[in-house]
Amino acid sequence: MSTAQGRPLLVRAMLDPAHCNGLSLQQWDLLVRQARRANLLAALGGRLRAQGLNVSVPARVWLHFESALLLAARQSASVQAEVRLIGKALAELATPVVLLKGAAYLLSGHAASAGRLFSDIDILVMRPRIAEVETALMVHGWDFAELDDYDQRYYRRWMHELPPMHHTRRGTALDVHHTILPPTAKTRVNTAALFEDLVALPGLAPLHVLSPEAMLLHSATHLLHEGEMDHGLRDLFDLDAQLRGLGGAAMDWQRLLDRARALGLARVLYLALRYTRVLLGTPMPEPLLLALQAVAPGRLAKAALDFAYTRGLRPQHASCTLPGSGLALSGLYVRSHWLRMPAHLLAYHLGRKALHHLRTDKTEPA
């Protein structure tokens, strides 16, 4: 397992921005590369600025942070406006519309939203209402990208979301979920329980966010089921911010544990806590960790997961590669699919994708 000394420059800088004092130009160069690859350039810039350290960043370097911060600020303003339009489009259905991930952090004023870059907005609605939601969105200008029949069926039959939507005039992207993991996934999520303790966003009906505990559990679920680790470290820092927001070592851990059990996400929580603590040193209550020991994976599985995540959750930049990183990333990719669906479906889906890939490769102009 990695130690504080083995932490990449970016992780050290994020955890303690004062670490950046006195970096050489060459180190700054590396830090900007790592931060950009991890999608954390604006977040780090925000942390430097919050501590007044931006004045000691060399001017040429600070331009990069400033540029990323500007983009992040513009995007958060756009997301603020866009979620209001989504709320308006769905208000008449009188069903809660739950913002997930980035939009949820932003609208609930969470620390994890600082300096965040968005690619889309994710919402969660109750499954029985999803057809009405789809219709209402289409009436208000959202539409699907061209998908072939297979992909349409794949989304509608096996996935936990509609195919990706976009607004035809504004070009904004929207993912509509009815639960947080595919119904075929090995982790069974108690979706109904997710809706039990929603938090309404004042003045923005029907928009809601998950309770702080459920939000954290969703972030953990997302991180631990993701197969491509380009945003892995960013998502780990999201968890770190949420755990600290809940009070770190002083949090009401019983409540978090109860919610994890009720939702069927206790093992996911165990793993999420394990890697935030090991990789970021996030403070958390000992009794919570002890209570979760019961759901820890076996020794071999744990060793394999440790191997994969201590590598996969480093910045995806050549300077952070460890022996075995390539293996770890392929392992996490396969694992994510393995977790998502039973073996026979997986074989069919991946076979189909590979075939499709070959075909498109052939038609590419050479």
Binding site: L25, Q26, D29, R60, H64, E66, S67, L70, Q316, A318
Partner: protein
Amino acid sequence: MKLGEVSAGELRHRLSLDGLTLAMPPFVVRIRSDVASLADDLALMYGEFALHAADDFCDFHVEVMHARGLRRWFKPLAEFSSDGARSFVPLPAQQCYTMLEWGLNWCVAAHAHQYLLIHAAVIERGGQAVILPAPPGSGKSTLCAGLVHRGWRLLSDELALLDMDSGLVHGMARPVNLKNGSIAAIRDFVPEAILTAPVPNTNKGTVALMQAPADAARRVREPAAPAWIVLPSYRAGAAAELQPMEKAESFMAIAEQSFNYDVHGALGFQALGRLVDRCATYRFEYSSLAEAAAIFDGLGA
């Protein structure tokens, strides 16, 4: 030290190892490549540009590397990456230099929001700049390539970097991208122009790059004050003609060609407003470069 002072072998060697740290003011770029032909194109196009120390801060780290796999031995492909992240589809290796130029444009457009970025050519004379914003196919690059051999200084063929505080425009004096018929047009009009070998079958047709005149490369750090906005359009057989254009229409044309006008919000809107206010604005139709040069000679007279 200038890039042109490094021997071809040394250049190739450096490109394949730690990379070449090249000044493209206002940026510094680290370029790595294992495609041997890239060194020759860089030497031809950037000979006058300064090399920086290997440990200097670089704004962009770009690579053009052979794609891995068996295919390398019969139909080699090259891939562009920036900060180690691959982008764009791999292209045949003989297109690697044009891919590098497009990739560099992308790096600036995606990351350099300290400027208001406009897709436009910029040329200057007597301290006053003409901004030529235009969509592809308008004959902007051809016009720009011709005029920079007729008394105008090249700032940029693709990217105008507007400093919103000073109102000045920076360019990078990078090579001019010529497509299809423009290549022969420029060879006819400026026989002394230095061009790369044309690369056929790119997704923009046949492409060649033209070296920035030596004076433009030497003065690359000098920004210029915009005085004219001219929307060019090439029409076969048309007599060259400059026609005044409404300010509001010019504003919209420039906004449409800006990569990050929306990122800057109200400040971007105001900066574009000031730019359009200070400039005389025209439409310009042409087919002959000689006629075009004569009309541009009369600008401001």
